[in-house]
């Protein structure tokens, strides 16, 4: 897996939902190499504030066209500056980085994909690759946000997945409650349980989902996020606590992840 540093031309950078933007970049080398679940480190400015690159999941990898799409939420200075960059400008990208998702094992029937908020941004290529490689899989997307103004690409996901269950914390659309609440509701009322599960979202959500999948012995892969310095395993700044018997132990989101099996993470130390 080769990494590239590429000057990528902005093809599109427009609002997608409440404080969420959709960035399209012409970045043929990285697009050609990238897999579902990987990320890029984007340099927002050549100035020193902010100093570090920002990690972004890939929302779509359009290999043939050499285009990468990113869906990002404005959370601070870096993403705020990014949202003001016009079409035609260039940004500096480092990638593709990280391990990426693995497909579920052959013979898997029911896959549930859980997205919390902007966590959806890492899951689209996964859904695409599962449906491409294993069309027989019955895939349900659970997509939860705070309020309906944050939902996006609903029609698109509805077409790609066999089932789509939306939830909002305020009840403005779909199930009233969080993603895990919706999952548990379906499990209790329909009696169904997935044979494989994927999740990406805020750490607090992942922590609760981890407990649920471990309790129900559901094999799964989670995409974690972390502050990052380098993105390539040089600075070791993105460590998260790993379960261990003796001495403290850590895994690193940038090069050992961002995709992890939830049973190796020491979730209670993560918040």
């Amino acid at each position: 897996m080769r990494k590239y540093l590429e000057r990528a031309k902005i093809i599109r950078n427009l609002p997608l939902a409440s404080s969420i933007y959709h960035l399209e970049l012409y970045s043929p080398k990285i697009a050609n190499e990238a897999r579902a679940g990987q990320f890029v480190m984007l340099r927002v400015t050549e100035d020193f504030i902010p100093l570090l690159r920002r990690p972004f999941s890939l929302f779509r990898i359009r290999k043939e066209e050499g285009i990468l799409e990113i869906a990002y939420k404005i959370v601070g200075k870096g993403t705020g500056m990014l949202s003001k960059k016009p079409e035609g400008e260039y940004v500096d990208l480092l990638g593709p980085l990280g391990n990426g998702f693995r497909l579920p094992p052959p013979g898997t029937r029911d896959v549930w994909v859980l997205a919390g908020g902007i966590g959806i941004a890492a899951l689209r290529p996964l859904i695409e690759s599962i449906k491409g490689a294993m069309p027989e899989v019955n895939l349900t997307l659970y997509y939860g946000v705070k309020s309906s103004s944050e939902l996006f690409s609903i029609d698109d996901f509805s077409e790609m997945c066999d089932g789509l269950r939306c939830s909002t914390d305020d009840g403005s659309f779909g199930f009233c409650g969080n993603v895990l609440g919706c999952v548990i509701h379906d499990w209790e009322t329909l009696g169904t349980i997935p044979s494989y599960l994927y999740a990406c979202g805020p750490t607090v959500m992942l922590r609760h989902v981890a407990q649920w999948v471990i309790d129900h012995s559901i094999p799964s892969q989670f995409s974690l996020e972390s502050l990052m310095g380098c993105g390539v395993g040089a600075c070791l700044g993105c460590a998260v606590p790993k379960k261990s018997d003796g001495e403290p132990s850590y895994v690193h989101v940038c090069f050992e992840g961002p995709i992890f099996s939830p049973d190796i993470i020491q979730w209670e130390k993560l918040l």
Partner: protein
């Protein structure tokens, strides 16, 4: 005429000769391989690898990083694979490519420093040891050695006795007189001094009322510390007769040239590798361009030519 001017970037650092004065700083470039797809490693003056201890270390609890204006505070806690794995799994990559490799070492006792230096003595591919006496992150680690001239001196003597490799001693800015510290380690037998390490720092959140680092205190690096580093290098150069390597916030060729101007014979680039992984190449090319424009053919003729009253 300037386009054809032959440029000689090579520098003598006491017992070491480098093809150019640009190195990467410990802890910011992993073990070299991490950036090998992006940076032609053979272009570098030398690679200084992540600090190595006798035993592997897990490092500090997260968060380990916090960004500040033009800076980065880190509290990694000297996480590393330990000397055994370094020698078996990490060093061969650099050795095979003939990349001059400086191994940054640290320990919790004088004996540990001596032991790790012994293990690296005569190891093919290693051109020097850099002793970390100044990392502010680990309570039991370097901070004591780096703030007390006599302790620093005994440490350098122990490493000197354990190895025939050139020794670089990396100094902390967190001392009353960095000139006195420099003299102490020079007298103890270090061949070269590198400075500065990170500046002890912290950051807090007023809403959660919590520190922003798992270790509470970390070390500040990046462009924010460059003026402090430049002053330290200037004072050290004036106080010792051995070569000095300048480190601290270097982001471009002009910054690197500033350190060379005040007398550093080489520089290390650290935090900026994260923002711009090709910064080292940009700096080497930028120094060359500067020399052509200024009609300087040997970088050695520029080093230490600061005009003071």
């Amino acid at each position: 005429m300037s386009a054809t001017l032959p440029i000689d970037l090579s520098v003598n650092l006491g017992p070491i000769k480098l093809k150019n004065p640009v190195m990467v700083a410990s802890g910011t470039f992993g073990y070299g391989r991490e950036y090998a797809d992006i940076v032609p490693l053979e272009c570098l003056g030398a690679v200084v690898v992540k600090g190595i201890s006798l035993k592997p270390r897990p490092g500090n609890p997260p968060p380990r990083l916090v960004e500040t204006p033009a800076g980065l505070i880190n509290a990694i806690g000297l996480e590393n694979v330990g000397i055994e794995t370094f020698l078996s799994d990490k060093l061969p990559f650099l050795r095979k490519r003939k990349i001059p490799t400086v191994v940054n070492i640290f320990g919790e006792t004088v004996e540990e420093y001596g032991e790790i230096a012994r293990r690296l003595d005569g190891v093919d591919g290693v051109v020097a040891l850099e002793i970390n006496i100044s990392c502010p992150n680990v309570k039991a680690g370097g901070v004591h050695f780096g703030t007390n001239p006599s302790m620093a001196s005994s440490l350098v003597k122990a490493v000197r006795a354990a190895t025939s490799l050139p020794i670089i001693t990396k100094l902390s800015p967190q001392v009353t007189s960095i000139a006195d510290m420099a003299k102490a380690v020079e007298d103890a037998g270090t061949d070269i001094i590198s400075c500065i390490n990170t500046v002890p720092a912290m950051a807090v959140n007023i809403y959660s009322r919590k520190p922003l680092l798992g270790n509470v205190i970390g070390g500040l690096s990046g462009p924010a510390i460059k003026p402090i580093a430049l002053r330290c290098v200037y004072e050290v150069v004036k106080s010792v007769g051995i070569p000095v390597i300048g480190i601290g916030g270097i982001a471009n060729a002009e910054d690197a040239l500033e350190f060379l101007l005040v007398g550093a014979r080489a520089v290390q680039i650290g935090t900026m590798n994260f923002a711009n992984p090709r910064v080292v190449i940009d700096v080497i090319e930028g120094i060359e361009n500067f020399m052509r424009l200024q009609n300087i053919s040997k970088i050695e003729d520029f080093i230490g030519t600061l005009k003071t009253l």
